[in-house]
């Protein structure tokens, strides 16, 4: 996807938010510049407390910035918040459907809140329910839906007025792997079929890798990297070569140091690891030397850099280290503890609510 940033869908300059608390000023976002082109899918990655949700809340008019400026679809955030709201859909991390409401009614009301006439709201609600695998659930109470169904309803609520831009805050958090995969299809379809611009925050690096045209990495309230997934991965120096031996790893480590050149060789127990560009060539050489030295191998692997490696390089920690246990709600810098302030996620999709088994 080529980014046309002449008329960006999102443009922000120096966007900042500082909360006041009893302990003084708490800067959550420290001057974010970003441009998102019409029709792009952009991933917004960062550990807990990095400022993702606060940035999202500013861009969706939920929180007023303390500094900087931004425009959404040409509407200024400060002077034309209603114009911004008309242009966007927002799917909050913690959900957005009333537990006691009925699925179909909630969707129709949501469309009507955007000024869509009653008949058209009804048609759109029915069509979206079909498209998001919620067909036949229109009369059900929201509280009876499974986690996956409820998440799809949240997505439908963010789309029912056909926004030009949709903000998705951790859209697959708590879903089982199959539901996540299905959700990816839905999100990709938004852009591919409708041309909707998608701005997505996620803890899942494979999700960002698979879905996003471009990724912005935020840490400590600042954008620390931006680029396509491949561009970001190329910032990590080389592939990871891992050699496992059956006996003493010292000879293997010595040989590996020759193959690794300047790179640091890490030896743990019976495993030797190092990073080199074009890891598969180094592995072949290494294999030849290990064989000649009579080292008994238990295994050998070459791993391409992942976005997690990028993250580690940029922030000094992995996203998983920041992932709270299910049910834990990490703050995003704001003192209020609003639903949108939570950055919690369920990295392995083990949340029991994530199952679709409750579906009737």
């Amino acid at each position: 996807m080529t980014s046309d940033l002449t008329h960006p869908m999102i443009r922000a300059r120096g966007l900042a938010k500082t909360y006041r608390s009893r302990r003084g000023q708490v800067p959550a976002v420290r001057g974010v510049d970003l441009d998102v082109a019409d029709g792009e899918i952009v991933g917004f990655l960062g550990p807990n407390g990095a400022g993702k949700t606060t940035t999202l809340q500013m861009l969706t008019t939920l929180t007023e910035p303390t500094a900087g400026e931004a425009s959404i679809a040409g509407h200024d955030l400060r002077t034309d918040p209603v114009g911004v709201r008309r242009s966007i859909g927002y799917v909050a991390q913690g959900g957005s459907a009333g537990s006691d409401a009925r699925v179909g009614e909630e969707l129709e009301f949501q469309a009507r809140f955007y000024g869509v006439p009653a008949g058209e709201a009804s048609r759109r609600a029915a069509a979206l329910m079909d498209q998001l695998d919620l067909g036949g659930l229109g009369g059900r109470d929201v509280k009876t839906l499974s986690g996956g169904q409820r998440r799809r309803l949240d997505i439908a609520l963010g789309l029912v007025h056909t926004p030009a831009l949709v903000f998705l805050d951790e859209p697959t958090t708590g879903l089982d792997p199959q539901s996540r995969s299905n959700m990816w299809g839905h999100i990709a379809g938004l852009r591919n079929e409708l041309g909707t611009t998608v701005f997505i925050t996620t803890h899942y690096l494979d999700e960002a890798d698979a879905l996003c045209d471009r990724i912005l990495v935020i840490d400590g309230g600042r954008i620390v990297a931006t680029g396509t997934p491949d561009e970001l991965k190329s910032q990590v120096s080389g592939d990871l070569v891992t050699v496992s031996v059956t006996g003493d790893p010292a000879p293997a480590a010595e040989i590996a140091r020759g193959a690794a050149g300047e790179a640091e060789v890490e030896v743990t127990d019976r495993t030797v690891r190092f990073r080199v560009p074009r890891g598969e060539h180094a592995a072949i050489d290494l294999l030849r030397h290990l064989d000649a030295a009579g080292v008994d191998l238990d295994g050998l692997s070459v791993q391409r850099p992942t976005l997690d490696d990028v993250f580690l390089t940029l922030t000094g920690r992995t996203l998983r280290e920041d992932t709270p246990a299910p049910g834990d709600t990490g703050s995003d810098g704001g003192p209020g503890g609003a639903p949108g302030d939570t950055d919690g996620s369920d990295p392995d999709g083990s949340d029991p609510n994530g199952s679709d088994e409750k579906a009737a």
Partner: protein
Amino acid sequence: MSTTVDLANPTVPAPARTAGNTVLRDTVLVFRRALRLSLRNPVWTVMGLAQPLLYLFFFGPLLTKITNVPGFPVGDPWQIFVPAIMVMLGMFGAAFVGFGLVSEWRDGVIDRMRVTPMSRFSLLAGRVLRDVVVLSAQAVLLVAAGLAMGLRAPAVGVVVGIALVAVMGATMSAVSYSIALILKSEDALAPLLNGVMLPVMLLSGIMLPISRGFAPDWLYYLSRINPMSYVVEGARAAFLGNFAGSEFWVGLGVAGALASVGLGWATRTFTRQSS
């Protein structure tokens, strides 16, 4: 379940045609959604009516025996008690609606609505309107129960009494929503509301009139600084058909003033909190 999706279904018009948002239209939409939820789960409406009905059935009859006590207001005891219980319904029935808002906020409904182009005032007004409708219906049922117990009052007085319930209900409801939006916690809201509402209720003479001669002087003077005392007295005057006396007009004036201050503050607070 499919992994691909046809979001370009030709039956779906895109982008959605909009009829535009006006304050009135938005208020009606929020009201309709809120009322539908109330009708679907009427247990809270029934519970809200249960307390005043219990007072009516199990406390009201005691008053018939003390009408001759010095200082007890002149009039039929049901004309004294029923309007006061109606004011209690307006106060207490509406004071706790903030809990529902905290629940909606927790579900993410409030933030979802705040991201729509709807008027901020409508987000409050639609909910308050629902509460007024529910309270008015409860007040009518309460009057019907009072009639069954022996209440006899002029129709105009009854209508004015119900209107007072609506006004007090709107005020308390708006204030409760705004406080709930500030606190965002049931744990903080419950002690605050109980801490304020109980002394206000006791000092307004709802249960037993706090009149000179009937109540100790210190309690009487303490009740005079409670504006709800005047509203209760105004409602009683209406049920007695005493529209010419100062009690009715003072009660009406105090209710109006409370509504102006309460609704004004709540609107500003709610709008600011949700902007």
